[in-house]
Symmetry: C2
Subunit: 232 residues, 2 copies
């Protein structure tokens, strides 16, 4: 990281400050993204458990548009949407960078993280929700192929290179949640023989200590998907 | 803008450089977003007209994921997705800032521009495409109310304050395209009496010189929507 850039960042962590994360049941991959970003930066925060069936007045006040978690509250300022929160965390707190420093690499990180969040996520869960219906799986595979190619071209351990970045954090739901859903249903959507680089990346990602600290226990996620998709 | 931040930005415009914008038929609000950003920065560029029915090998190579315009090519590096391109332009070129400098305001700009692009845009064109069907209009109004409130709370000429920023550029399709589609169909979706602040903002936006330079002629957009939505 450019030392000059670092100096521009306010050293908030030396002030007495309020950092609260509104989340819910520990299986949310979106809330976990924010937990990982805060963990990377070594930020202490208060976790506030939301009840989805009875959302708190605070959640409705802080995220009136989507009424969803995660919401980060920093010194009274609420921020919603996991990708927006992660970029905010990276800009406000020094330490391990989450975004690349170079403008072009930064644009690429934003491109891929949006693709993974907006395109791959619904396609993968549609394929899972359909218990592996052929057409749904084919559509998910078409998208996954782009990630496989990207990892192939980069030839690095993570999308971020030697270390995780925004793209890895964003793709984390594949490594932990999709894999757990596959186990719950006894199907394989992210087929290892078709996507060996993604399979390798999944292993690298969940074995990264800063990630491991924040992941909900595998068996709880499996149990959640067994309930959600209705198969024992 | 913080002078120290400015110094960190590479002075690319002093180098001989390649800037190409791949776009198509001048009615695209997405391509226009990028044109406005480039115009704000005073960047010279080559505009490459794409034929949507016969996409060029360059477009397919530079944006293999979406195969869509706009694509910005900067010194050989392709960037896709209008919001990603605009942030890139703002980071690479000095001059009039497009993003706020403050981290919280930046997060808010990202939040609103994504909301306007991902939520309001499809809802508005669904309402228009249905020729003003009640339920579709009600859904669009629910979203527009958030923008109306935001403008009310800010009390400024633009979402960006005294000057346009990412959010204004992103919302520009409402001021020019939605209004033209309303004219084409003889309906009103963004009702002026219900959304006076948005109506005022629309006027402010299209009268901003840097925007005006880049907008396709109103009558061409009207003609396009007459054709698209099948009503004379």
């Amino acid at each position: 990281m450019n030392p000059a850039t670092q100096e521009l960042k306010p050293v908030y962590q030396e002030m007495a400050e309020e950092v609260k994360l509104y989340g819910y049941v520990e299986v949310s991959p979106f809330v976990t993204r924010v937990k990982i970003a805060l963990n990377l930066k070594g930020i202490n925060y208060e976790f506030i458990q939301e009840d989805l069936d009875n959302k708190s007045p605070d959640l409705l006040k802080y995220n009136p548009v989507y009424k969803k978690v995660p919401v980060l509250l920093h010194n009274g300022n609420p921020i919603s949407e996991s990708l927006v929160i992660i970029e905010y965390i990276d800009e406000v707190w020094k330490g391990v960078p989450i975004m690349p420093n170079d403008a072009y690499e930064k644009a690429q990180a934003r491109f891929w993280s949006t693709f993974i969040a907006d395109k791959c996520h619904p396609a993968l869960f549609k394929a899972i929700g359909s218990h592996g219906e052929e057409q749904a799986v084919a559509e998910a595979h078409e998208l996954l192929q782009f990630l496989e190619n990207e990892l192939n071209v980069k030839g690095t351990k993570f999308f971020g290179g030697d270390n995780i970045n925004l793209v890895d954090i964003c793709a984390g739901y594949i490594a932990h949640w999709v894999v757990a859903a596959e186990e719950a249903l006894g199907i394989e959507v992210v087929t290892k023989d078709k996507f060996p680089k993604i399979a390798e990346w999944c292993g690298n990602y969940i074995n990264c200590q800063v990630v491991k600290d924040c992941l909900p226990p595998r068996e709880r996620v499996v149990a959640y998907y067994k309930g959600r998709f209705g198969k024992a």
